[in-house]
Symmetry: C2
Subunit: 224 residues, 2 copies
Amino acid sequence: MTASPRRRIPEATVARLPLYYRALLETGERQVATISSERLAELAGVNAAKVRKDLSYLGSYGTRGVGYDVEYLLHEISRELGLTRDWPVAIVGIGNLGRALANYRGFGARGFRVEALIDADHALVGHQIGELAVVSIDDLDRVVREHNIAIGILATPAAAAQEVADRLVAAGVTSILNFAPAVCSVPEGVSMRKVDLAIELQILSFYQLRRGASGATPPRERTA
Amino acid sequence: MTASPRRRIPEATVARLPLYYRALLETGERQVATISSERLAELAGVNAAKVRKDLSYLGSYGTRGVGYDVEYLLHEISRELGLTRDWPVAIVGIGNLGRALANYRGFGARGFRVEALIDADHALVGHQIGELAVVSIDDLDRVVREHNIAIGILATPAAAAQEVADRLVAAGVTSILNFAPAVCSVPEGVSMRKVDLAIELQILSFYQLRRGASGATPPRERTA
DNA sequence: CACACTTTGAGAACGCGTGCACAAGCTCGG
DNA sequence: CCGAGCTTGTGCACGCGTTCTCAAAGTGTG
């Protein structure tokens, strides 16, 4: 049951599918059977035309005059996003952030099961966090292969990021979510998404500045 | 002293300025006086043409045949990003993530000083985290005003996000970094950036699926 | 001073994503 | 069975961002 898209799905659309998914989940829980693109747009925080275009990339799952069947659409999106299966995940770098991620409930709910916690600090190895014990980075390769881990979360200091990324890739990981504040390259055929908290704040700071320094002055620029 | 940009700086460019900033910092520490767009591009993980175009929005700070003066460019970018001043920041929602953010060193280094930790759980109020004590959400308005906080970090559960955002805005916050997995709207004149960890994983999952790396299949190629 | 070499800055072409507008298609009431 | 009323699906135009390309402008050498 491989999901074969009718057309190539634009990256921007892929990034919105999870929003629709979440909105549909909430809607489904309220026993609502169908939903219009307009309502879905509202729940997802986008506009209706975009919703329709996005969903049309998945196929014609709507009914004109009626809307979209919530359960069916939910199923189609989750299949498209690979949420019908479980993804074993490893977190490398069990510092402040890594520990928070390890305890984060939001992952499991979508089929992302954290199955390994890896750190270079030997003082940390063996330490129990939730239901998992931290393992040494020396065992990275073995652990990744044993659990068949395809997705890795990188939460190390910047200096270690590239090396750990290389080791993850060498062990067979093909998707990396990178929290380390460092530029980090992966070979063709491996996806990497970056989340940099300090950068986000700097972007906010930029627009904050343009608005007039200290939160008292009225706006002038529009931001996304 | 050009206090305002020569032209409107594209959003995409703004998002890359922090990358250049970080790359230039590292370069400056190595006592390198000038840097070419090509080298800077390499360090920032983009291409040289983009670097030149981005920097040209700030003004003509380069010298043909030579490159950019590292210290000068660093100064110009930090001014543009508002990193020459300190930004007091409040974190609302002191759960796993909020606590990790409170302890994160990366913020302070860029002038973002966490000055308030706020939570709705009365059992948590008064609890010391690092150098700060958690304060009640009942005091949100007072604390935000007292510390002149313009930037808020939202790390609450999804259900509370919109209400807390509203309260932050009411208290004078005009920039919000939202980690809550919920759609959340703010009035015109307030910036909000969203970081959703589960969504990032779902996007990775999508591409992971398309690569044909089904669960059982071992890795593809290892280059590195 | 002239010339070879380097590197920036920007004009122009292109591609992707967004939003508008509307035809196509469904439901339902009479 | 027909027409009114919705709502989807998509063709199209537009704007933003990226990339290519090259003239302009600097350096260094003999």
